[in-house]
Amino acid sequence: MKVEKISRSPLEELKRHVGVIQEAFKQAVIPDRVTIEYPRERRKYPENLRGFIVLDKSRCISCFRCAQICPANAIQMSYFENFYPGIDYTKCIFCHFCVESCPTGALASSTLHDMAFKSLEDMKVKPNQMMRLPAAIREDVQSVEYDVTKKGWRLIRKMELEDIKVVRILPKLKPRRAFCLEPESCLGCRQCMEVCPHEAIVMERCEITLEGQIVGKGCVLKITEKCVGCGLCVRQCPMKILSLKEVE
């Protein structure tokens, strides 16, 4: 498709001038205004707007997935009763890879997105501050929504306050547990045991027998029922012999 050539005749020129003047005066008389007067009114964003992230501590299994998937390394785990994620909003880019990665739905997105801080220190949010939505300064008295139809676009103002919502979508995942695929390759380094946040892997000393003969001292490692399938051991294992499997 070729772009139409623009005519250079003075008459056309004049026509265009008239068009401009017409449009400007039309707008001056009946403006198609689309401004959202923000501090006074709040725009109704859809629920899936990616905003401030809220943590439900009771669901968190300290699996480090959020911290390790974060492209900006904004999530660092802090140790309370267990490891919980804290988000550094000086780095957070609101991609919500962490929310998508959370296997239990402990992290949830909220529609709170208008924040301003006076110092960088205040922006490093600790896990215990993330469990509730923060109280935000709000000056809005009404809410606005875009109304789009085939005919055009206008704003609908409603005299009601838009709540900041927390949207928690629980992932449909079967429970998983760690399994050892290749016990013969175990180094015996016990890293899996030490890294486990739930003390689900235990070790006992024993004697190793091979074909009925005692070969030497050894240990036995057990993955117990406590395992919640966080997968830390899987990633920790230097020989990569552990794996997560779905269990019924």
């Binding site: 205004r33 689309v34 401004t35 959202i36 007067e37 923000y38 501090p39 709040r42 501590k57 480090f64 911290a67 390790q68 492209p71 900006a72 390394n73 904004a74 999530i75 660092q76 785990m77 802090s78 140790y79 309370f80 009763e81 490891f83 919980y84 804290g86 550094d88 909003y89 000086t90 780095k91 957070c92 880019i93 609101f94 709170l112 997105h113 208008d114 924040m115 301003a116 801080f117 006076k118 960088l120 205040d122 922006m123 490093k124 949010v125 600790k126 215990n128 501050q129 469990m131 509730r132 923060p134 109280a135 935000a136 300064i137 890293q191 030490e194 890294v195 830390l232 990633r235 920790q236």
Partner: protein, 347 residues
């Protein structure tokens, strides 16, 4: 004079001055990075920052607010400081966007500077990019600060009580896995049904090793001293521009692989074909002849590679830095320049 200044600042006229400043926060037009798009939204008709008295305006002398729109690079940091120095008192700085706060996604980049280390900053706005509402919230917070005299965060966190525990001895391993012995294969042959490509490969065999790597992609390896003649030959075949110049650093094999991605606009059937003309040069004396006179489109790309890898393109008239600031590290894209590693456990 000093007494006069003092009087103006704190005297009876103080409240008037404060009021004037509060409703007339004019951000200077200092676009530093891509958050400028959201800044434009905040001042365009969707949100109209002019409503609250902020008018995006001209240059440093006539304004009193800098909105740092994201990343400040080494080059830009100087500009930011100069702009700030040029501005008349009283002046304020708001930083928007993660890049400007702590680097954001570029936190371990070699070229970023934190604005808060360059100029005093009043308010920080998180987001990447922050929504226009967030920016207006920042301006609003600044107004409130001018009103009350103290700065406030716009959100206040309610802390849930939690016992602080002790860090365990072993911390989980990072997820990143970097090969100790990387293998770099540029031209991996692939079987594809592509008649034109096979013909081309036949034609190019005289120049060097020509391999079809995928549909529409041909890799042609030539000796460094034959690079120019090969390029000329390609030009005669109808290839007329360079789409990319790339250097791959292979320290384990002690070489740089210099690639030119050459394609054609003028011959219709060659349009989809991308020829990767590459040759290997020694890492100790990284020199290769430039193709910028054969393909002028390679000029800036070569300059960039010269800057980032320290590979000298003999024949390119440009010497010295192009993309990087004078104080940026030498040849940062070489593999021996390491970036800071991630930390997954905080305090």
């Amino acid at each position: 004079m000093e007494e006069f200044t003092k009087f103006v600042r704190g005297g009876i006229l103080g409240p008037i001055k404060k009021w004037g400043t509060k409703w007339s926060l004019w951000p200077v037009h200092l676009v530093t990075a891509c958050c400028g798009a959201e800044l434009a939204h905040a001042f365009a008709c969707g949100y109209d920052g002019e409503r609250i008295g902020a008018l995006n305006y001209g240059i440093a002398r006539q304004t009193n607010l800098i909105i740092v729109e994201g990343a400040i690079t080494r080059k830009m940091a100087r500009v930011l400081r100069i702009t700030w120095e040029q501005m008349p008192d009283p002046k304020f700085v708001i930083v928007m966007g993660a890049c400007g706060l702590n680097g954001g996604i570029f936190w371990n980049g070699y070229n970023l500077v934190k604005p808060s280390e360059v100029v005093p900053v009043e308010f920080f706005i998180p987001g990447c990019p922050p929504t226009p509402e967030a920016l207006l919230r920042g301006i609003r917070q600044l107004q409130i600060k001018l009103d009350k005299g103290v700065a406030e965060n716009s959100v206040s966190f309610s802390e849930v009580k939690a016992e602080k525990g002790k860090k365990p001895r072993i911390l989980p391993r990072g997820v990143k896995k970097v090969s100790l012995a990387p293998c770099i294969v540029i031209a991996r042959e692939k079987e594809v049904e592509w008649e034109l490509g096979k013909n081309l490969c036949e034609k190019l065999k005289v120049l060097g090793r020509a391999v079809i790597t995928a549909r529409n992609r041909i890799a042609l390896k030539v000796d460094p001293d034959k690079l120019r003649s090969s390029a000329m030959k390609l030009r005669d075949l109808g290839f007329d521009h360079v789409k990319s110049v790339n250097v791959v650093d292979a320290p384990n094999e002690g070489k740089f692989i210099v690639e030119y991605w050459i394609s054609s606009y003028s011959v219709k059937e060659l349009m989809p074909v991308l020829i990767n003309l590459h040759s290997e040069i020694s890492r100790r004396e990284p020199k290769i002849s430039s193709l910028s006179d054969i393909f002028p489109s390679a000029d800036y790309l070569e300059r960039e590679m010269q800057d980032l890898f320290g590979v000298e393109f003999v024949g390119n008239p440009w010497k010295g830095r192009f993309l990087l600031a004078p104080d940026a590290p030498e040849a940062p894209l070489r593999k021996d320049f390491k970036l800071q590693e991630e930390v997954y456990v905080g305090d």
